[in-house]
Assembly symmetry: C2
Homo-oligomer: 154 residues x 2
DNA sequence: AGAGTTAATACGAATTTCGTAATGTTCAAG
DNA sequence: CTTGAACATTACGAAATTCGTATTAACTCT
């Protein structure tokens, strides 16, 4: 169990047991918060793709259709359909900008922004449930570890 | 910021800032591991439902079609279609048990079990990446906190 | 101007999900 | 023993989604 040099920095591989433990725990973890997600989705009956697109548009007002498609990794035609649905539901608006009239500028409507807020509230609710499951002195640890993993280079 | 009594136990609500921090970190967290999931899915081109069904069957050999449908929250007809696809790909087998011939007993084939193993390996790989992002003395903390959240009652 | 590129959309094919109806099986009551 | 209800599964068809191809409109560079 001696530390070994890797790429010029001390790097110890996680043990097989650690990986096993975290894998099993994370399965239960995701399972627990998947049901909450499914329950929240039933309210608005918004397809997963549409919800992601709406979120992106609300965070990038005036963005183009292609931007959303690239970010979410779907075909432009698929995104066109998704935008159609969202426009039909009055959650986003298509506009032709004067400076580039072949593009469309997407913006979220008031209703769309409200749906995004509800969506985010559901997400926050899940995160609050995570924190409440811990003792107060453990909560900062969870935040710090999550940030560290999320922002790691590789 | 005084502790307050709730349901007979000490219970301090997470602060709004803590919830905010964890929410933002968790967004980056899930985004980072979503791409890995998508890359792994491209290998086998297995639909999400089929992958979940295959996993359930491999963990519950001889189970019925209705069991899988109930566990995954889909209509029995949808599960029948999913089983059709998996049978066509030779990943699971339908068998009519002698003692109850109106049911079918589902079991994973050797190929199906192999695919499950690869699937699990991808999952483990993601968990290993999480652990590698942390210092060795932090890894036990992550495991412990994840288990605590996953197994909390409410 | 004119060719080539870019952004978005219309259309059609393939696939998936799910509701309704049908098939075959089991169980219980008469 | 028969008959009828309940059950597990499947067949079929409708609705919706994704995506590839072709098309339209606009921009850019020579």
């Amino acid at each position: 169990m001696a530390p070994q040099k890797c790429f010029g920095r001390d790097m110890i591989e996680p043990t097989a047991e650690q990986v096993e433990q975290l894998t099993r725990a994370f399965e239960r973890f995701t399972r627990r918060f998947k049901v909450a997600e499914a329950a929240a989705a039933a309210d608005n009956a918004l397809i997963a793709l549409d919800a992601q697109a709406l979120l992106f548009v609300s965070e990038h007002p005036g963005c183009g259709l292609g931007d959303v498609a690239r970010d979410l990794g779907v075909a432009p035609t698929t995104m066109s359909s998704a935008v159609d649905r969202l426009v039909r539901k009055a959650m986003i608006e298509r506009r032709r900008p004067e400076d580039n009239r072949r593009a469309v500028a997407l913006t979220a409507t008031a209703k769309g922004r409200q749906v995004v807020e509800e969506q985010k509230a559901g997400y926050q609710k899940a995160c609050r449930a995570m924190l409440r499951s811990l003792d107060p002195d453990e909560r900062g640890d969870l935040i710090r570890l999550t940030e560290k993993i999320a922002d790691a280079e590789t």
